[in-house]
Symmetry: C2
Subunit: 234 residues, 2 copies
Amino acid sequence: MQLFYGQVEGDRVVLSEDESKHAIRVLRKKSGDILSVIDGHGGLYTGPIVEEHQKHCAIQIDEHVENWGEVPYDFHLAIAPTKNMDRLEWLLEKSVEIGISRISPILCEHSERKVFKPERLERILLSGVKQSLKGKIPQLDPLVKFNDFIGQSRSYPTYIGYCGEGTKTPLIDQMRTNGSSVCVMIGPEGDFSPEEFQNALAAGITGITLGDQRLRTETAALAAVHTAHIATLL
Amino acid sequence: MQLFYGQVEGDRVVLSEDESKHAIRVLRKKSGDILSVIDGHGGLYTGPIVEEHQKHCAIQIDEHVENWGEVPYDFHLAIAPTKNMDRLEWLLEKSVEIGISRISPILCEHSERKVFKPERLERILLSGVKQSLKGKIPQLDPLVKFNDFIGQSRSYPTYIGYCGEGTKTPLIDQMRTNGSSVCVMIGPEGDFSPEEFQNALAAGITGITLGDQRLRTETAALAAVHTAHIATLL
């Protein structure tokens, strides 16, 4: 099943410029050809092309499904962007496949990457959503400082993965008790600092462990994302 | 902790040529400097450099630990190599971090990649082992045809992930009942063929599912590897 991305305008869905070009110029779609289009908010729209235009291709809405391909929980990942952006891009692709609703890049004491450009990651999120047949594009937040992030209010339990000393419980146990709708914080290559961990605990965030293995930042993050999925199967 | 790779020769451990060059020429290690060296079979050896040579650097064995950094189960992954080798390389790096003991590349009806060169993957396995502080390098088998593989005898239960029609149980349920020491088969981009799936069942292999999400080959494989890890925490 091939998906396109666009926005509803009245009784039609208009594809974005990139998607219009792909549909009309690359795939040679014609007026009357049936397309399936997601709006990025959970809506799936199906219908024939009524405007065969390579910059603003539009379909008529014959069918409309809400919450299409929805993951049955909200997973919010707060992560210090990796020094190597490829690793973060890979993580987002995989996280979308397994199921993630929001990503908050955080700036930590040991962060090696202090600037963060979202454009490319937004493209990866969209292609991941289309590839894994989901209707909703995860929310990608701007980079925020660790202490500002832990001070924000959240509607789900928040957990912090930390390799250093401290009280921690396995994430899978927390999720079996409290559900898979969570926020999980994963630190940079050098981990969170002891002070950051203590600040998180003081802010009511719970320390968790993903097991004894030494995992890279992006591997730990994907393990957390997948743990939420497993917890829903138990 | 920095690890090197070498082989025991009498009362010394001699680093491989690459590792000797890295230690002596790149890192400028000198006679008397203490190195930690893994033999790739679970052994960790620590001692001072007694031969400062950039092709066959050797240490004296002061300390020796067996089964160092051992994962408490054997995970054998049988996978159709992805069309894009980067994806397979990524998978192996991550699998080593989480824990894997053996990889069997399999040639399937829908395989897009029919040739398979192990050299680069072996380097990735070694660097993954060193990065994640393990002593044992996973075994990488030569490419084998699907029907030959299912005919081989294995000491652990064998499972096959399949997205098509058929009786399947969640892998996590199987592992909670039968343990994490398993062989899991993951198909190519086009999945296993219905005939391959039936042949596997006829060979006593159990059909499993990793959930409802549509996962890429390498994502499904890593999900299976991580499921084994989670099962040991439950």
